[in-house]
Symmetry: C3
Subunit: 345 residues, 3 copies
């Protein structure tokens, strides 16, 4: 239970109020009690300040006259809140030892203070950096390399020859380096294209639970430094995800697509294969990206949910849309309102 | 092999016909043989009765004159069929013992008749209720609590401090309580928001294979009593799923969204974050829910599949739809058919 | 490191050039060096031939005058490339033994040269054919049957009574035979429909990482010979997937749907339940298939991504589309351009 002053020091923030005030926990604005620290990260939430019971608030210096209690002042209150969660982190720590029920090849090389939990399997020629933590039941295949301080959570599978950088987290049941989906259509059926390349993941990458990153056929699938990937995401073979791009849950990226830096791909969006996506592109939820995107900016697709009856009528009209426009053009001609002889709307 | 009369007694249904008739198995109407019990749950399937070879049929009392053979009469034939499947259940049972290849912390507390299969890992301060069954290779992290009669299937991962109620089933390779997707954008990259809260799952909940339910940042993710969740579903951090809501495969619910009771969310639907969905809302397959839904009822979105060539034309017109309406308005003006000066359709 | 002539012999292809040329590896056209073999599978890539540094190229005999170097001639260059990847396959091989940390029931029956890796669990009455490989941490439930040369990758779960044919690959963290999503709505909540049937997978099938194939309620879920299924795919209970059909990542097939032979279902497409899909149907990415498809051919649905601002306007118009058409019809009447008294576009 740190005192408020200790938190201010740890986060390097200006403190207003009593540095000795004990802080039990972080809590949201609406639910915070006097023993809690909370935060306001957006102006539109300032109105809730008058109702909070929080003992202290992280907020922007410009907003400080709207709150009379203890405060930690930050130009980036949301980042300050993120750093505060790290002070209160309650995740179990690593044991720092190899469990006697782990199975570790004598030909694996381990750095210092490595943890390998019960039931984990580390195959030959694997290299694990310092303080790497392989969770219970996780699998690390032949020749895989895992950088310092990276955590492989329980039951995740890291296939042979996969490279993962430092300070990454691979969440439970994720699969890194399974075969890309490559088959050639032959008269006698699908002929397997062996996936001969691997996966190369940079530093400070997080990959969510039950996500899959496939190994490449001839070239590695690449996830660059600082990328964050949510749960149940599919990254196809030969894809490159540029630095600091964020990919939300259930997104699918088809093989060979190259995604730029600092993109944000919202949930359930899908990208066709062999596209190029520029830096700083934001794709909305369920976005259907079937061709390359060359300009930064926000993009979306799809239609909004409506009451079923209305939707049925409108969706049915969608299948006639081209005909509808042709009728509009005919009307324009009849009325003398032509659009320069152009059939396009 | 129960006799028909025993089934009638077990299901508390009125029997018409020979109670001694042996019943081997349940079978669908079209494929049933004389040793099988079948059912009709909807009026539109009554016409198939004349063709079935079934030895006995579960049906509604109102329909009984359409069938001359043995019958079990139920006002809710589909529920009666569901209960009949429980009589014929053929899933392997629990061993009732802790396998010597399981790894169980001496600081875990176990109820009576607990089963822990080979390769499962139960960490310290875990509490397992009576008759809990932890499948092979499953992981139960520090401090997790699992209620009576709950089954955790093989290779599922239950992270630290997760609470699961009684009579739940967590299917294989599901991940409950991995970190929610929380990061603050800082100049030096994404700053991790530690997910300090947990997951709280009620009683009688079923969560499908390879689904993920994330732990909360400051408040628990909550799945209320009687909820059923299919495979490959993503439940984001801080979400609340109201009692008896059903969520089909590959649905994604973004962080903080509050879903009411008795909702039905069809496959691949997606919800943005921080929405409120009323009770008794039904969302169609692939529904794109980007704002709150305040009224019960059926909602849908998207467009139907069409032959590719027609779709390409119509989809292209969709990107011009606003311009098309403006042309329509101009035409209406030219013809003197104005809509009250309103630009909306 | 085979010589080019050896590759030509293995692939049964005509060689032009020096059979003694050593070939290190396969590489893509743009990145190949003189020690590499590459390929051209489509005419539109022929223009890149002039720039490649490759030591040899697989190409069609018709194109041979466009390349002066060493060549392997094939009428189906993409299939020849696929077969070449098999020569260079670098996946770790099976140990051919049962690891002493595997848990294998004494009542399981094993063919010759079976591999069972550490932490795998093979339950009673399982049958494993010759050369079957059960990966680390994988689970094979009671009574499951697995044909010759099939590989179950690490941490995959094969539930009780599932049948898998010969030469299949089930990738990591896949779940085959978990319960289908069957519940009857009763006044007291959802009543579980026990899933009494199983899953029947043919020969030469590949199922991707973290995919799920559910067991049937009364009839088996069937995946026929030669089907290929990518990652994170959901196959509902009672579905049948016809021979050689290909299903890309994150596709969902709802219960009872019958899919024909040689279909191609692109990523994130979804099918409602109890549909019938003809042979040779191709569904585009994110396709929304809500009714049966009786004719072979290419189908698609959805709308393309657009810049957000334009999309918001167009998507809003979509919700008015039926009204828009009614206004068009009114205009046509006013102008005397009626469509034969028909309200449809």
């Amino acid at each position: 239970m740190p005192a408020l002053g200790e938190i201010a020091t740890a986060l390097n923030l200006e403190l207003r109020g009593d540095p000795a005030r004990p802080i039990d926990a972080l809590a949201p604005l609406e639910k915070a009690s006097p023993e809690h620290l909370t935060f306001v990260s957006e102006k539109r939430h300032l109105s809730k300040l008058s109702l909070t019971q929080a003992g202290a608030v992280i907020l922007h210096p410009d907003w400080v006259d709207q709150w009379s209690g203890c405060a930690l002042l930050s130009d980036t209150p949301y980042v300050a809140y993120a750093k505060a969660t790290q002070i209160f982190d309650n995740h179990p720590g690593a044991a720092g030892v190899v469990h006697d029920r782990a199975v570790v090849s004598s030909k694996a090389r381990l750095g210092t203070a490595v943890t390998i939990d019960a039931g984990a399997h580390v195959e030959e020629n694997v290299f694990l950096g310092d303080r790497v933590w392989i969770g219970a039941g996780a699998f690390v295949g032949q020749g895989a390399q895992i950088g310092d301080d990276t955590v492989i959570k329980p039951n995740a599978v890291i296939c042979h020859a996969v490279k993962i950088g430092a300070r990454c987290t691979i969440h439970p049941n994720a699969t890194i380096g399974a075969d890309g989906f490559g088959f050639a259509p032959a008269p006698e059926g699908w002929t397997k294209i062996q996936q001969l390349a691997s996966v190369d993941i940079g530093n400070d990458v997080e990959i969510g639970a039950n996500s899959t990153v496939d190994r490449g056929a001839l070239e590695d699938t690449v996830v660059e430094d600082g990328v964050i990937i949510d749960n149940l995401v599919q990254i196809g073979h030969g894809v490159r995800v540029g630095t600091r791009t964020a990919i939300a849950a259930q997104v699918g990226i088809s093989g060979g697509t190259q995604i730029g830096a600092r993109c944000v791909i919202a949930g359930q969006a899908g990208m066709a294969g062999h596209l190029t996506i520029a830096d700083d592109v934001h794709i909305g939820g369920q976005g259907r990206v079937a061709s390359s995107v060359t300009e930064p900016g926000h993009y979306s697709s799809g239609t909004p949910v409506q009451p079923l009856r209305a939707w049925l009528r409108n969706a049915s009209r969608f299948t006639q849309l081209d005909k509808i426009v042709r009728r509009l053009v005919a009307l324009e001609k009849a009325v003398g309102l032509e659009q320069g002889g152009d059939q396009d709307a």
